[in-house]
Amino acid sequence: MGVVAADVRRAGSIDQVAVSVKDVGMAFGDVHAVRNASFDLPQGRFLTILGPSGSGKTTLLRMIAGFDRPTSGEIFINGQPVSAVPPHKRAIGMVFQKLALFPHMTAAENVAFPLKMRRHDARTIPEKVERYLDLVRLGGYGDRRINELSGGQQQRVAIARALVFEPDLLLLDEPLAALDRKLREEMQLEFRRIQKELGVTTINVTHDQREALVVSDEIIVMNGGAIQQKARPVDAYRAPSNAFVANFIGVTNFLEGRIVELTSTQAVFESNGVRLVGIAADAALAAGLSCSGALRAEQIRIAPRGGRLDDLETVVDGQVVDCIFEGDRVVYEIRVPDLAGVLMRVFDHDPESHLQFGPGDEVRLGWNARDMHVFQK
């Protein structure tokens, strides 16, 4: 029943913008935590802001929540500017990094708190609390005190508290960062399920690229206070817009060189005398400029020295420095003398050939030009 209602809500508001961030900046004195951030988020979408610590992603989230006021630009929620609106007057639910559950209240009292503060009809509160505890699969745990719950259960209470008053927007401030890997991956899927079920517009902040790829409809990659790319997860992975994004998402090799030839799509560059071809992924490229070609570790094929990699456009020889068995794949580190001895990382996912090479073995590497993205350096 709840699912039907959510579907109707989503269908009725297709492409309506829920959150609009326009040229937002945050400066602490001379330090710009966020600069000129702009994006629109349609209703019902799950957006992840991905970036290293200090990239400004949490500051941006806090401004949307209303805890900090932008020093420039404006944030619109459902079309209304909100800079002058204090946090308690915004209809935003938030799950904090350290959860910030109220320690002197039970799980149910925590979930009931937003309803009481937002003056919901007292008679409907117990029923709503129960419904949302059920939603996060904590039915029957309402009377527990917070310190009597496990880490995962506390997460679920925090989610229920953020959602119970049916906010316009849900904010997640790295709430999964402190969990162990297995629980974290379980909770990522849980976030995804709940978000789909309720259709609530969600902004998630994380430094975990895997989480961003798994849970999001859209990803914003931030670095140094600026938005680097906004794209669907698959596009951010396959077509990074610059070297930072290419490096931050996935395991990427960078080959440095100088552009010798440029067409509208292809860039030919020379690295230590070797001609390499890739996709011109950066509008700022020009012949003669130094550049770097980004190549994912899983796009490289590995074969014995003299092996036939005829179907691949670029082939170089190298020597295995290290090989690491990771279960579902083997990670090779290979030194390539032709490319000034650069170390390249290569994933071998082929179960047949697992660990066929050891340190010191002479090997051959090959890849296709379409998998190499060339950026200005």
């Binding site: 910030a100 109220f102 503060m117």
Partner: protein, 266 residues
Amino acid sequence: MTGSKSKSFVLWAFVTTALLMLSAPTVVVLGASFTAGNIITFPPDGLSLKWYGAIAQASDLRQAFVRSLIVATICTLVSIPVGTLAGIALAKYRVRFARSIQIYLLLPFTIPLIGSGIGMMLVLGNMGVLGKLWPVGIACAVINLPFMIWAVTASASNLSPDLELAAANCGAPPLQRFLYITLPAVLPGVITGSLLMFILALNEFLVSLLLVDARSVTLPVQIYNSIRSIITPDLAAISVVFIACAGLAIALLDRLVGLDIFLKSK
């Protein structure tokens, strides 16, 4: 093996001595109060409850005890709002001159009590309120306030700033945030501080001595006056009642917030 054995022996001896020294005065007073004789002695000269009967009859002691309770209550009532707000402010907000304020708050406590007592005697004397009970309560609050502030600060500095933000995010305006979230979170500190203030005011001697007159003597002053004339076992008995009050406060503290919080000053 032998090293750890001798070490544990030394430790045991040390702890036992310390415990004995700490409890000896209480044990002596307790024993002396049960004496059947007419002079204070330890071990007691026979066992009886007659001196407890005597203090129950002695109206001056009883009245002094009630006055001490009133002073302690006034002191506690004054220090709860003042100490709680000051403690939260010092722990949570970046108050300008926070360090100077802390040192300033310590002043009445760090300068010799006799000094601050005389100062207060002059001020209160000028105001013409010497001999009333409420100035004594306020004086005790002023002198011991750092204890209240320490207790609250210890609770408040453990408080995550996210908690108030989370309350704001839940839709709580500033006053509700304070009442529903901040105050309950620092409540252990407030209870600890209040009981501490109560006991300290109940026991306060030096400042009371300077601020009371014959009509308003508090119990410690009354005991002191009696000692100067004649030492009888009823003083031991009233001391035991005193100790029992402190014990009750500590039991209450343990019950309400847990002594571990008090000891770790959490």
